[in-house]
Amino acid sequence: MMVPTLGTNVSSLPPEGALAARGGPSPLTPLLDVRDLRVAFGGKEVVHGINFSIAPGEKLALVGESGSGKTVTALALLRLTQNAEITGSARLFSPQYPPDGRDLLSAKEPELLRIRGSEIAMIFQEPMTALNPLFTVGDQVAEVLQLKQGLSTRQAWAAGVEALAATGITEPARRALAYPHQLSGGQRQRAMIAMALACRPRLLLADEPTTALDVTLRGQILDLLSDLQRQTGMAVLLITHDLNLVHRFANRIALMENGHLVEEGPVSDVFANPRHAYTRRLIDSRPVRDVDEQAAAVSAPVLHAQDLRVIYPIPMAGFRGWFKKGEFVAVRQAGFDIRPGRTLGVVGESGSGKSTLALAVLGLIPHTGALDVMDCRWGPDAAGNKAIRRLVQVVFQDPFSSLSPRMTVEEIVGEGLLVHEPRLQPSERRQRALAALADVGLDEAQFPGLMSRYPHEFSGGQRQRLAIARALIVGPQLLVLDEPTSALDVTIQKQVLQLLQRLQRERGLSYLLITHDVDVIRAMAHEVIVMKNGEILESGPTSKILDAPQHPYTRTLVASAG
């Protein structure tokens, strides 16, 4: 018999009461039981009555795309949302409470203050903004202990250092004296965790705890959370959009879409046998490799780089700095070729120099060494470079900052023609722009008055299509893709990657694909180079690098991608 939500149409909202729940190990006394939680902002409901419960010591993952209401749900549990109307109940159970628990949503503020931190703690996505920059990490951990457990300053400090040590920070006594900006991203997140766990809460709300970190750090932080969970026996509500993390971490998964809970159950069960169309879409969103493997492996390269070196001037300390600038080498001795119709993937963590490499290829920052596009070389004069600009185009990561908010689609997409084919009639330019938009899957039928619309009317994925159309209209040979899908939701990411693959097959485009996501590399790239600290550690065909990595760093990178 068909479950009503199993319809093949991808329309998202399930009919009334169609939650695809299944009989997992149902806890006898849950730790937290949420019933009919609704959250509205200014009369607009964003969470539409969801039910779930967490057992003591359970690891529940709340999964959904941006805007699905998952973070709002977590914030609403602690009533940390501003100007929100929250209804329903969220009962917290404890031996000290009455048998029907205590409702967090109707509790008085002093009661909530007690519960926050000592019973339910929270960690946030971006530790840099979640930690106060004016206090040392030790101060901030000790403050929690002083407030919640009434420890003296000295005791609290000692306990704080202990809490930091428990999160695996090296030299915790010294790090406790450091300010947030003096720590690395991973250390900051560890300090946040120490703060949250200092009072041994029974439930931890972890809101995308690893999203802001480099790939190689994500696994470490997740393992740390797992270890601490095992030691303390707390329950964890992990909010994430990353199914790899869910796989690795959680016992149970709950999927949210547009403020509805659409499916819930044990992780292995849901992954093996997804019942809701949305769950399937999410699981299927892993990018698929669909590229021409044989494409022109032997013909002359579109881009040839040799001994490429990019430096940034940095201020030097002391009196000498008045007259001279220091050098920071962002890319050193890079050499690679990109051949027609093929993709070179550049993978590395933030600060590895991969985006600098992209800017150098685009001729937007000065470099030394050879960088030949077809037979041209970047020179000092703008007129000579104009021919190369036509051959090399770019798509940036953030679809919101890459389109000017005050230009219409026609102006944005037609811009390249104004520069490179200034003699074109306005009507011809319009035709060409429409054709470029049709190539990326945007047309008038779908968006009436497409050409006179402004970017704010489009979603992230559609904006990225606009950016691709703007690049394609001048007929480039090489497209630099700087994290083209990192800012997009996974299902949209797949669509954009498919579009890029199709364009490559149809037009024989070459891509320089910059990313930190090994999955994207696996789906797109013919060759890969791995970068760290401005140096190329390893390079070669994708299958070789990803399946048999030689360098230890590459191994961690591939392993952490799950």
Partner: protein, 344 residues
Amino acid sequence: MATVSLSPSRRAWLRFRRNRLGFWSLLLFCAMVVLSLMAEVLSNDRPLVVRYQGTTYFPVLRDYSEQTFGGDFPTPADYLDPFIRQRITSGGNWAIYAPNPYGPKTLNYFAKSPSPAAPTRDNLLGTDDRGRDLLAQLIYGFRVSVLFGLALTAIGTALGIAAGAVQGYFAGKTDLAFQRFIEIWSSMPELYLLIIFSAIFAPSVALLLILLSLFGWMGLADYVRAEFLRNRQMDYVRAARALGVGNSRIMWRHILPNSMTPVVTFLPFRMSGSILALTSLDFLGLGVPPGTPSLGELLSQGKANIDAWWISISTFAVLVLTLLLLTFMGDALRDALDPRKAEK
């Protein structure tokens, strides 16, 4: 998704319109400006049309001698003269006077009471200490103030945008040099320079405009520079550079439209500042040449003739109303362009 596509500036305008205080201030202010531009029709010592012995005359446009209307002298006719008035209105002759039959410089030699005269039916708001009609003075003075304010704002804004754009876009050494120049320039004693220049040159509105413009652009340049510094880093600027778009085009087409928020927000406040600057200088006697109708000069007359309450009170009222309307407009504009409010 809306079917009708609205540009960001159009949406800001709709938000502005929703602020009723600001919107009505704008309408009222525009009405006042339009009326003051028609000052010659509203307040003039010459009749608009005269029909004299079968011929039609337009004294408001042309000069006619007294002899035209049967007087004795070849001098220009004084239409307030009871004799001329009687000639052109008796018999089959007729004349249409402006609603307020005085110009800004008109001295009524036939006034019934000594000046400054309190409000009467002849002079609705009274006269100043030289016997000129106060209402006419206020209408013409308001016009001078507003036009001066508009011109000063326009010049200052244009200079400020240009200077800020160059600094912000090119950054680095250009920015450094320009910033130092601004620091030196802004530390010049503006008021002393004005006093010195008004001693050297014959005072005129144009001179005043140039002198105030020389110093008025710096405040705005800072804001525009900051916006350009921020926006030049945006990916859409990088994308335009990668397309090969030239510097001036990037500045004009890509960055400037996205940097206009502080410029537009400050416009009404800059305008009220300009009007106030002119008024203060006139009050001190450093402003427009003597004889030009001016609110500042009226204020100083009010101070000199403190018992002639009608001078100070009516001038004060006009000034307060003008500045208040501009401030309301500025507030509404600021709210309309506030990105945090724009989301709602």
